[in-house]
Symmetry: C2
Subunit: 312 residues, 2 copies
């Protein structure tokens, strides 16, 4: 127990209430959660007011969430929990060859029905204020370093206003996403935007005290995740990134976000997703009327049963 001033048997008493028909996983996960939350309360001598502030934040998150905004998830993101679960999932997937697990970390903006596009085409439509980038590279086999022919490179990114197409009624359907197939040299190529940093949703309509069960507080103008960032004196920005998933039958899928090395939020991503191996350089490109920047990015994939499929 964290603090002997308090009843040393209480937490075990709560854990022991779990009945015989609970699944073993439910029993162990919830037992661990109860232990950690009780230790947290004791270590901080949490007050009723503080606990109730947490309850209000949970209820408020639920009330603000809908198909296009998930404040419960965002609360987890700003305390690094989604990135940590991603790390755990990557490790488990690498160890167990579990394709289904690896593809679970696609994030909220991936779509299963992205358009299949020919190499050398663009995913950018109706965006005038972006830096056009020619992105291309080779998909290679981890062991043989031979090109992998017929691999799918599925790409998606936010527009310059910080919104993915499904969040933004002003973007055309499937804007800034596409699936490209590597050619007989293992090569893929497309035009996209140099990504731009954007804030996680940190606004919020005013919610009345009654609506959001926030007792004794009337200064509620943000969503709970935005408010938490404010309490923690943190900015809401994510560094610029492009999402990729690379798949090929017989290979482990590779899911990643790649980050612009020049981005000022690389060191303090509001959701803690940056890894050194995923930082890339956008270079000036001359003589191509369709783009002013070039990003050459090779992707290494591992056959099932050949270790991890991560690049870098």
């Amino acid at each position: 127990m964290a603090d002997s001033r308090f009843d040393p048997n209480f937490t075990q008493h709560v854990i022991n209430a779990t009945g015989p028909k609970a699944t073993p996983r439910m029993r162990s996960v919830m037992g661990s959660l109860i232990k950690h939350l009780h230790d947290f309360a004791r270590e901080n001598e949490l007050t009723v007011e503080e606990w109730m502030a947490g309850v209000n934040m949970i209820n408020w998150a639920g009330k603000m969430s809908d198909e296009k905004r998930n404040e419960g998830q965002l609360l987890c993101d700003v305390i690094g929990l989604e990135s940590l679960v991603d790390e755990i999932t990557f490790k488990l997937a690498a160890e167990t060859n579990d394709h289904a697990t690896a593809s679970a970390i696609l994030g909220p903006f991936w779509r299963h029905d992205a358009p299949i596009l020919p190499n050398e085409s663009t995913i950018v439509h109706g965006v005038d204020d972006g830096e056009m980038t020619y992105m291309h590279g080779i998909v290679q086999d981890l062991q043989t370093r031979e090109p992998v022919v017929g691999a799918w490179v599925d790409v998606w990114q936010a527009s310059t206003n910080g919104l993915y197409e499904q969040q933004d009624k002003d973007q055309v359907e499937h804007n800034l996403r596409g699936k490209f197939k590597t050619d007989d040299k293992g090569h893929y190529a497309f035009y996209c935007l140099r990504p731009t940093p954007y804030p996680v949703p940190n606004d919020g309509d005013y919610i009345s005290v009654a609506e959001c069960n926030v007792q004794a507080r009337t200064d509620v103008f943000k969503g709970p995740a935005g408010k938490l960032l404010e309490y923690l004196d943190r900015h809401p920005y994510r560094p610029a990134h492009i999402h990729l998933i690379v798949t090929r039958e017989g290979y482990k899928p590779v899911t990643m976000q790649i980050f612009d090395s020049q981005d000022k939020y690389l060191e303090n991503d509001s959701v803690f997703a940056v890894k050194d191996s995923l930082i890339v350089d956008f270079k000036p490109l001359e003589g191509n009327p369709k783009a002013t920047l070039e990003l050459e990015y090779d992707i290494v994939v591992a056959k099932v049963d050949e270790g991890t499929g991560k690049t870098g």
Copy 2:
């Protein structure tokens, strides 16, 4: 760090993101919460699916909460967190003579405007299926054991249908609550119901998948707290109890729930609030046309600066 398979610096990196303008309390409480939640995720190798199930439960709780139902609070209650915070608060209040803190644990059904009633009157109106109880006793000074004259005994309880009056449109305003003042012998007396056990809210309207952000689940017919109890193979019942708060200028307020010794849920209260010192005996009463049971209950109060004001 809980498991060296994972990045040993990640959690501190997240904690270090807190900015210089965060309050010291916010910094330490949130730092501790981040550490515990990260350790929880690592120790259990939490999957994306499990984490997302937790997120959905949080959002679902918010959507179901309103003025009469607080599912975020109820989720905490069924894992013992409210009772633990109560214990912490009682200890702090006893140590610091903090009246405001002590009165914070009144629970969601206390009302500040309960009617002032004469001794020997009843708080029961329009309830036909209850066991009428004559409750009376002395309020005593902890040090002198002298009666305390002019103390307020504020009482409230649920009706036989398990609902407090503000939850139940069929009960008259202020049913089953009242404030009684001790007489010149320190004596209080009133008629109330023998309390009956009731379930915490464990029903719930059907919420569509889109409405509650529950992905890939369609079996959602309960609130999240009810669902959690089901997952944990636990019943939703609270043992029968009467709420009391006793106040007198110059004395520490005493806030408590007292429990019927014959209740079958004493050992497994769904919200873990029972303490041995608060278990009482209802005895048969003869010759009183107004009641069939008697509960004699003396309450000890401590002067400010004279130790704790708890009975028992």
